[in-house]
């Protein structure tokens, strides 16, 4: 058990967005956080990702509380994230985006030439997300689907083992990874995320609105409603859950064709 959310509560003024949510995500597990608009899933995600301090409750990563830690410190402990709208460094090439992040822990200097900074590691990451063919394009010229992939690689760059630490457990927090993508792009990206979790033992927690990016991908699904965890379980169990069908998926919902995985 590596990520643990304990009785998370978040109020915005008089609005109780999250009213006491507890769950956990284990290493190598791919967990989807879904729910209707206003159910509190974005707030829950933002608290875990460190954007909002929780009103009460704890977030433990690897047994240690991480609420209130600076982004750099969270990353050092192996917690990486992406954003709902992909954010990349537009003025740099795709390869330079990653070279900068790979090099960054070693200190930034005005006399270290960026193009000489460890292109091998950066290229390896690009290969992982299937962007090696566009390595020398400016990030601003990429189509949106490719920028989503680049941002995923940028998050992974932050999880590369550093010289001063042994391989720590790793967590990827993905804020709507498939948003804005066409159906084929969505399937390919989610397959990539799933492979990362399985082959590298990364714990993945993601929020999502597209059900074909949830069923057939996630090992476990958490359903938030009205600020509370309404249901959790395997995708199959969630698809059959009467409350979830009535309140969110719709009574006519069936898992996307061919999505059921072993």
């Amino acid at each position: 058990m590596t990520l643990e959310v304990q009785q998370l509560v978040k109020h915005f003024g008089g609005v109780q967005a999250v009213k006491g949510v507890s769950f956990s995500v284990a290493a190598g597990e791919c967990v989807a956080l879904i729910g209707p608009n206003g159910a509190g899933k974005s707030t829950t995600f933002a608290c875990i990702a460190g954007q909002h301090p929780p009103t009460s409750g704890h977030i433990l990563w690897n047994g240690q509380r991480v609420e209130g830690l600076a982004p750099a410190e969270r990353l050092r402990r192996g917690m990486a994230r992406t954003f709902q709208v992909a954010q990349t460094f537009e003025a740099l090439t795709v390869l330079q985006n990653l070279q900068l992040l790979v090099h960054c822990p070693r200190g930034l200097k005005a006399y270290n030439v960026l193009d000489a900074a460890d292109p091998a590691s950066a290229l390896r990451l690009l290969g992982q997300v299937g962007l090696d063919a566009v390595a020398h394009l400016d990030a601003r010229d990429l189509p949106y689907g490719a920028r989503k992939r680049l941002e995923l690689a940028m998050a992974l760059a932050g999880l590369l083992p550093q010289p001063d630490q042994s391989t720590a457990p790793q967590l990827l927090l993905l804020d709507e990874p498939a948003a804005g993508l066409a159906a084929e792009e969505r399937a390919a990206l989610m397959q990539l995320v799933r492979t990362l979790a399985q082959t590298q033992g990364i714990a993945v927690l993601y929020t999502e609105h597209n059900m074909d990016a949830v069923f057939g991908v996630a090992d476990r699904v958490l359903v938030l409603m009205d600020g509370l965890l309404a249901a959790q379980g395997t995708p199959d169990a969630i698809a059959k859950d009467p409350l979830v069908r009535a309140r969110y998926l719709g009574m006519g919902f069936s898992t996307p064709a061919g999505a059921a995985h072993a």
Binding site: A110, D115, G158
Partner: protein, 278 residues
């Protein structure tokens, strides 16, 4: 002629200092004259009070700018965009008010005159120094734009949340470029005091800040050689155009408007497209 070239080179160094933080770091300043003026008064006072010669005076000018940038930098970079621009403008006004009203130290509107930082014998050496500093500052900007630090600046400018989530120390990177930029502006100020032999509160005026902006906007914010073109045009316009034409600043304003509309990436941006950017 040599005097005009000296004016242009000093303006060039001031322009490059602003270009480093504005083009790479996205830190817009409408008050870069603050750091320039601190450099001029630092250099001038080091001679009038302690009798320092050129090297010490230039160092004093740099230290004055650097000191203020270190103290205020952390607060300034909390703001961005137009708020940072207004904050920098306010700082320049404070420096200007101090220079014109703290008469006992700065001489007020009479300024500090009769500086002997450069004599007739040493003027050729000083000119060589100006050439050297100009070349070095352009080379440094070019180097910075291709370095890991320069990439971090652009990263922080374009996607601050992503940069922070990826472990880049956003504020530290911004403060660092602000301090380095201020120090170079202070050096330009010291060189100005040495070149003119006198300093007046006008070095901290809005006009000086605008000159620094014009230098890089005329030549092109993202062009490595932009400041060279901008400084040359501005000094030529002031010297030649200004001689027979009272409204040269107005004419220059129209020219700048024309350039912003017709060539938004500056005059140097009109050369071959897709050249290496600063």
């Amino acid at each position: 002629m040599a005097s005009l070239a000296s004016d242009a080179m000093i303006l060039l160094v001031l322009g490059v200092s602003l270009q480093a933080m504005m083009a790479l770091g996205g830190l817009v300043s409408f008050g870069h004259a603050a750091f320039f003026a601190l450099g001029t008064y630092g250099a001038a006072l080091s001679q009038t009070v302690w009798g320092w010669s050129l090297p010490g005076a230039l160092a004093a000018g740099c230290v004055a700018s650097l000191g203020v940038a270190v103290v205020l930098g952390g607060v300034m970079v909390r703001s961005a965009g137009v708020y940072l621009a207004m904050l920098s403008l306010a700082l320049a006004q404070v420096v200007w008010a101090t220079a014109s009203q703290w008469v006992a130290v700065t001489g007020g509107d009479n300024g500090l005159i009769g500086l002997q930082l450069v004599t007739e014998e040493t003027r050729p050496v000083f000119f060589a120094l100006l050439v050297l500093v100009s070349i070095a500052s352009i080379a440094a900007l070019r180097r910075l734009s291709r370095s890991t630090l320069g990439a971090a600046l652009q990263a922080v400018r374009d996607a601050p949340e992503r940069a922070a989530a990826s472990g880049l120390r956003v504020r530290r990177v911004k403060v660092r470029v602000l301090v380095e930029s201020a120090t170079l502006a202070g050096l330009a100020g010291g060189l100005f005091a040495a070149h003119k032999g006198a300093v007046f509160p006008s070095v901290a005026s809005v006009a000086t800040s605008v000159d620094a902006l014009l230098v890089i906007l005329l030549g092109g914010l993202h062009q490595v050689w932009g400041a060279v073109a901008g400084a040359a045009i501005l000094v030529w316009a002031a010297g030649e155009l200004g001689r027979g034409f009272d409204y040269w600043r107005g004419a220059l304003g129209l020219l700048v408007m024309g350039i912003m509309v017709l060539a938004p990436s500056g005059l140097m941006g009109l050369r071959l497209p897709r050249r290496r950017r600063a």
